[in-house]
């Protein structure tokens, strides 16, 4: 693997993981009564930008390298479903995350302290933030299963 694709793969993973850390901070931030809106704005924006960066890095790696070099290795190996199921699912489920994170960011940024004044809105946003974290963890696990199958 050339240095570019190596860095793209590492970047995709670490940027995504850092995004999940910030999404977790967002979620924990929503648990507080009252929620610290400034903290939520910063962490939700960070998460959104990190997911966008992970999207670009991972996307370039996937389109230009994975299909030609890694996919054949996995399909020829003992766990071809790592591509057939896990990668196929992951590359599409991943697309939900930046969109959901974008909504969380917009909501915290524009609603501000209204989040604390409207419990139903806060609860619904908390659930959305939880789904971002859950999908992030799922994607990470799928990525590790895919990487593990390549020999």
């Amino acid at each position: 693997m050339g240095i570019l694709f190596q860095n793209l793969l590492i970047g995709h993973i670490l940027l995504g993981l850092t995004g999940i850390v910030f999404s977790t901070l967002v979620l924990v931030g929503f648990f507080k009564k009252p929620a610290n809106v400034k903290f939520l704005k910063i962490t939700s924006l960070s998460a959104f930008l990190l997911y966008l960066a992970s999207w670009v890095a991972g996307g370039y790696y996937y389109v230009e390298y994975y299909g030609g070099k890694v996919k054949p290795l996995i399909k020829a190996g003992p766990y071809p479903f790592a591509h057939g199921i896990f990668m196929e699912a992951k590359e599409h489920i991943f697309l939900f995350i930046p969109i959901l994170a974008g909504v969380v960011f917009l909501a915290t940024c524009l609603l501000g302290d209204k989040i604390n004044q409207e419990p139903k809105v806060k609860n619904a946003l908390t659930v959305l933030a939880f789904i971002v974290v859950f999908l992030g963890v799922l994607i990470t696990a799928l990525g590790m299963l895919i990487s593990g199958a390549a020999k």
């Binding site: 793969l9 290795l73 190996g77 003992p78 593990g148 390549a150």
Partner: protein, 188 residues
């Protein structure tokens, strides 16, 4: 690079396991007088932050070790190791359990500072969650520690997970029995 990452991983273990242990001990110490004081809650919050910091260090160093293995194309024989995946599953449990604690346990404590347990509405209402999440936390941390040290004894994943579930269930039962005893003691 491998040695550096392993060292960082061990530091994460020390912070995470140490923080979780101290956090549980702090709770039982503060429970001795039947109420949680503000300064005791302050220490628990610090311990919680140490646990989260340790967890973050563990996750990043652990994933970095995985990346190293991937770049070397070590393949499923190494990267599908049952001990490693049981480790990862325990880490996921620690994460979601930790979120549950921040959602229910810490707010219950914060709402009950200085109030005797027998009269602390939030603690009485959330008693089962408090003791269950505490038990899951400490069991999961030590289970992950043992897995890391032993690589799962070469056992299949199903056996390791069965042992984990068994350990968690036992811990939850014991914790809730202790919790019920404590609440009854301070209700009088």
């Amino acid at each position: 690079m491998y040695e550096i990452l392993v060292t960082i991983h061990i530091i994460g273990v020390a912070l995470g396991v140490g923080g979780a242990t101290v956090s549980d001990l702090l709770f039982f110490k503060s429970a001795k007088d039947g109420k949680i004081e503000e300064y005791e809650f302050g220490f628990m919050k610090i311990a919680s932050k140490i646990v989260w910091a340790g967890f973050a260090v563990l996750v990043f160093s652990g994933v970095s070790l995985f990346i190293l293995a991937r770049l070397k194309l070590l393949g499923p024989r190494v990267m599908y190791n049952p001990g490693i995946w049981a480790h990862i599953i325990a880490a996921a449990v620690i994460l979601f359990n930790g979120l549950a604690m921040h959602w229910k346990v810490f707010p219950a404590f914060e709402a009950s500072l200085g109030i005797p347990f027998g009269k602390a509405e939030q603690i009485l209402k959330n008693r089962k969650i408090i003791f269950t999440t505490g038990a899951i936390s400490i069991t999961s941390w030590y289970f992950a520690l043992v897995l890391g040290a032993t690589r799962g004894f070469g056992l299949p994943l199903s056996w390791i997970l069965a042992a984990y579930v068994f350990a968690v269930v036992c811990a939850v039962i014991v914790a809730n029995v202790i919790g019920k005893f404590l609440m009854n003691k301070f209700k009088q």
